[in-house]
Structures are given as C-alpha cells and as structure tokens.
C-alpha cells in the first residue's frame, strides 16, 4: 500500500467512476484499475462493485475511505512540515476554521501575528466544524477554530468568544420589524448549509420555540455572500451571524428583525491536539490568548 494507491482509491470513491478518476488524476484507466486491484488483494477485500455505469463502494470500501482520508491528510501535512523544517523547528502552521469565523474575524488576527512571526508559514483552510475536529484529531492539522466547543483526552479547547445570529431582510421588504415566529411560515427562509453548526443551532432554537421545520420554506446556500445578495433583491428572510452582516446593518441595506424576542447565541473555540508540541503552535496559541482575542473583529 502506498500513498498513490490510497489517492487513487479516494478519487475513485468520490467520483464513483474509474474513467472519471483517471481523467482527474491524469492517469490511464488500466493504471487506476491495476492500483485498485493491488489494494484489494493486499487488504483481501472487495472495495468496489463494478458495473458498466461506474463503481459502487462496498461497506468495506466505506470503512477504508474514512481511514484513507486521515492517512493522506497526515502524510501530506508531514511532508509539508518537513519541508519547512530548518534543523531546529518546524516553521509551518496549519489552521482550519469554520467559514464565518475564518472569513470575517480571523484574518486581522493572522495579519497581526504574521507581522511579529514572519518566519512562520501559515496555511489557512475553511471547513465545517465537525470536519475540523476530525482534521485536528486525525489529519495533522495544528489549530482548529470551531463553532461551539469540543474537548476530549486528546484535544484541548480554548474559549474565544460569543456571537449572535440575527433575523435579517431587505428594508424595502418588510414594513413591520417586530413579528411573531408563526409569520416565518409565510416567507422563504434562506439558510446556511445543513452541515454547518450554525444551521443546527438555528434549527434547535426554532424547534425549542415549537416551530415545525418541515413547514418552513427553507432555501439552502453554502455561501453567506450569495445569501446576502439574494436578500437584497428578493422577498426572503435569513438568519445570519452578526459578524457577517455588520456592514449591511451599518449602511442599512439590510435590517434586523425581531421575532418573539428570540435570541440565538453561540460560542466559538480554538482546539488543538495536546500531544503535538510545536514551538510555532505554542507561539500562536499564546498570541491568541494574550492579544489575538482583542484583534478578533
């Protein structure tokens, strides 16, 4: 088993097709087939059911996929860390952040950190909080910024702060800014991706107030910016994190609405793996604890 075989396996798994995987990896189909076969012989398991329409992963295939992703992530982080190793310390830090925090609050802190630690290479990615926890636990990512909290015997969690989710709409749309929750059923509700932790917080808050989520006209979008554009040009309501709409609330291009005085708060945290000790990681965490929190927007 080598990394190439695992990459070929993962690509075939996500494409559900050997020919598509071959195209994306710039390899021939026989090469893909050969690597998959070698992997299956080594593991003594069938990983895919082949058909003329493509491939379907077996149950074993699903299990291998979860491990393979972790192994590839760990391996790639190791290679990049070693590339930045100067004989004394590793000078590379991988940060994975939930997208709202990563887009609106984190960049300024990272900019300030880079000014004082220019020798450290920062690599920032966005992901869902549930995936970030796996990335930090099992794929070699150094720092995670998540919505909510998470800790176990391997993971330390530092509280960063709290924020709010607000009901918003275009000002031309609604004449009345105080509404009953039941009115929500009459409108299209633009919400974040269903894998987002904030979406779950919203759904739980509405359910706790007795709302039937199945009766809501929910339109989902993975991009907060596209939700904001849609609000400006259509008759919809959305529930968005305050940090993402500060500008629009200030310029009054969007207004915040009051639904039965419902308040939705959430916290965010920094997580990291306790057993991984890297000087640049310690430097970053110390910075966040002492000054970084003040620089978050």
């Amino acid at each position: 088993m080598d990394m190439d075989s695992l990459r070929v396996f993962c690509k075939t798994f996500s494409c559900r097709s050997i020919s598509l995987a071959a195209k994306e990896l710039f390899l021939t189909q026989p090469t893909i087939t050969h690597k998959l076969k070698s992997l299956e012989i080594e593991l003594n398991l069938i990983l895919f059911e082949r058909s003329n329409k493509g491939v379907i992963p077996t149950q074993a295939g699903h299990m291998v996929y979860n491990y393979a992703q972790n192994m590839i992530g760990l391996y790639e982080n190791m290679i990049l860390d070693l590339a930045s190793y100067d004989g004394e310390t590793v000078k590379r830090l991988t940060i994975s952040s939930c997208s709202t925090f990563g887009q609106y609050a984190l960049p300024c802190s990272l900019f300030e950190f880079k000014k004082r630690a220019a020798h450290i290479e920062l690599q920032l990615e966005h992901a869902f909080s549930t995936d970030i926890i796996i990335q930090v636990k099992e794929q070699g990512v150094d720092i995670g910024f998540i919505e909510g909290t998470y800790s176990d015997k391997e993971i330390e969690c530092l509280s960063i702060g709290k924020s709010q989710l607000l009901f918003v709409a275009s000002p031309e749309f609604l004449l009345c800014k105080t509404l009953k929750l039941d009115h929500l059923y009459d409108f299209n509700l633009l919400l974040m991706h269903h894998k987002s932790t904030l979406r779950r917080i919203i759904e739980n808050a509405l359910k706790n107030k007795g709302m039937d989520l199945k009766k809501l006209n929910i339109i989902e979008s993975p991009s907060l910016e596209s939700i904001k554009s849609a609000l400006l040009s259509s008759q919809c309501i959305s529930i968005l994190p305050y940090m993402s709409i500060k500008k629009e609330l200030y310029t009054k291009s969007l207004v915040s609405l009051n639904f039965n005085d419902l308040v939705m708060e959430y916290s965010f945290s920094l997580i990291h793996k306790k057993q991984i000790v890297k000087p640049c990681k310690t430097e970053f965490i110390d910075y966040i604890k002492t000054e970084g929190l003040k620089k978050l927007c």
Binding site: C108, S109, F111, Y242, M243, K246, K247, Y250, K295, C297
Partner: protein, 74 residues
C-alpha cells in the same frame, strides 16, 4: 476637500493605505472620516496617525463598527 473612506469589509492593511493616501490630499482643518468593522484597523490607524499633526476621535457606533475622524491641524 473633506474625505470619506468606506473601509467596511476591508482587511488590514488596505484601510490604512487608503487613509494615508487620502490624508496626504487634505488641506489644513479638513478632515478624513473612515468607517471600519475591523478592530485591528482602529489600532493601526491610531498608531500611525498619532505621530502626525492631527486630531483623532474614534467612536464605536455599533457593536464592532467604528467611525474614525482625523482632522488635519497643519
């Protein structure tokens, strides 16, 4: 002429670069008004303009939104 800089959504160091440019075009007693939603911008601008002959006022008009007024004295 008085200047207005809408730096909402702009990350460091863009607002400071814009503010420096606009400030250099100001005459005596004219002002530059800058709006930002990033706390580091407030710090950077305050640190930079503190050494220049001007009067600075910073007003947090909403949670996480600041209006900075810089009046050129000479």
């Amino acid at each position: 002429m008085n200047q207005y800089v809408d730096a909402l959504g702009d990350m460091c160091p863009i607002p400071l670069l814009n503010a420096k440019k606009m400030y250099s075009d100001l005459e005596k007693n004219e002002y530059l008004k800058l709006v930002t939603d990033h706390s580091c911008v407030v710090t950077n601008i305050h640190e930079y303009f503190n050494y220049l002959p001007c009067q600075i006022t910073i007003d947090e008009v909403a949670n996480g939104v600041w209006e900075i007024l810089i009046i050129k004295i000479r």
